[in-house]
């Protein structure tokens, strides 16, 4: 079976996220003061071939932990959909 994974990788809540802070403080200057609390991370999509959903979840978690995510600074979550 083929699955598509949509992975969100975000800076941990305890960390400052200077990129998000800079964008957030510019929202006011752009006429959008209603927008606050901006945080910026990465979004990764990938395709995975696996025998079932459980195996696919395990493989995606492995890919995140080994290659995609710096677990000292980032957390991740993902959704799997059958392709």
């Amino acid at each position: 079976m083929k699955f598509v994974a949509e992975i969100d990788i975000m800076p941990l809540p305890a960390l400052l996220d200077p990129q998000g802070k800079a964008v957030g403080s510019n929202m006011g200057n752009m006429g959008l003061p209603e927008i606050v609390g901006v945080r910026i991370g990465k979004h990764v999509t990938l395709e995975i071939e696996a025998s079932d959903r459980g195996v696919a979840e395990k493989k995606v978690t492995e890919a995140c932990e080994k290659l995609l995510v710096n677990q000292i600074m980032e957390g991740f979550s993902f959704r799997l959909e059958e392709a």
Copy 2:
């Protein structure tokens, strides 16, 4: 009303995405040859104060088009949830 927006910003399908290609071709070396088609973009979360969902959607679209997304190279989609 307060909403939380989860925005995905991805390189347009027609573009090469060298970062995704590099990560994808390393999946095989990391023991994960089942994973292909990696594409890497940005994930942005933000909070927005608006009178209703329609207004919030309009403001988030405006923020994306004005500040967050380079529409020559990137496309975006978002989900809004009431906070």
